[in-house]
């Protein structure tokens, strides 16, 4: 008897929790860097997105394929006094809208809760099944 088969449902929910955890971190990073104009790779911060994909055999939950920067152009804001302003007085700001990020955060939180609910249910039916032995 191997426990990884017995707790397959729990492991799937756990992979969902892990994925949403990463998504939460990415959203937090986006919000924190909403006004960042300098990055090591040059230019303003670029909004990060998570890419989810299923695990190969299709019934082992979800995995985070990567965290990729978005390709959309930076927002140009007129602010001649800014140290990072160009010759026209425009500053390249990150392409982040905080309200949208908050919606993303909410979605990630709810998805985390949904995975927790699935896990709780699995645990509950396991306990009910074990009670049959009494």
């Amino acid at each position: 008897m191997t426990s990884d088969k017995m707790f397959r449902a729990m492991d799937i929910s756990a992979s969902g929790l892990r994925a949403e955890w990463v998504r939460m971190q990415v959203v937090a990073n986006n919000v924190a860097n909403a006004e960042t104009t300098q990055t090591p790779e040059g230019g303003p911060y670029r909004r990060r997105q998570v890419l989810f994909s299923t695990v190969l055999d299709g019934l082992s939950g979800v995995t985070v394929r990567g965290v990729v920067p978005s390709a959309s152009a930076p927002r140009m804001v007129h602010n001649p006094g800014h140290p990072d302003a160009n010759a026209d007085g425009l500053v390249a700001m990150p392409d982040i809208s905080v309200p949208l990020e908050m919606v993303d955060m909410l979605t990630a939180g709810r998805a985390y809760e949904a995975n927790l609910a699935a896990m709780r249910k699995f645990r509950q039916i396991c306990e009910e099944a074990i009670k049959l032995l009494r």
Binding site: T2, S3, M10, A14, R123, C126, I130
Partner: protein, 100 residues
């Protein structure tokens, strides 16, 4: 009157149950080994849960969910093991109480 010999099959000794049967599975997977393997499994899950809690406490890992999963799995498998054990002991006692 000739005594009639009927092979009822009946109960076989636990240790040599399936292995002694001709044509049965040849591998020595007797009851004791099965129980032993299961106990090991439960024990390894307990160790895993303990490691997960320690890693979180020490700061080596940041995933609360991994700890929850490890502890839940350890808890559930341990409880299942306890119920099976209780059931087995009950059966054993029942047999010991039998009038011979």
């Amino acid at each position: 009157m000739e005594p009639v010999s009927v092979n009822l099959g009946g109960v076989q000794p636990v240790g040599s149950g399936p292995a002694a049967e001709p044509g049965g599975p040849a591998q020595g997977s007797n009851f004791r080994e099965m129980l032993d393997g299961y106990l090991r499994e439960v024990n390894s899950l307990q160790t895993k849960a303990e490691m997960a809690v320690r890693d979180l406490a020490v700061g080596k890992s940041d995933s609360v969910h991994d700890v929850i999963v490890a502890v839940s799995e350890a808890d559930l498998s341990f409880r299942l093991m306890m119920e099976v054990r209780n059931r087995l002991l009950e059966a054993y006692k029942e047999i010991m109480r039998m009038q011979v």
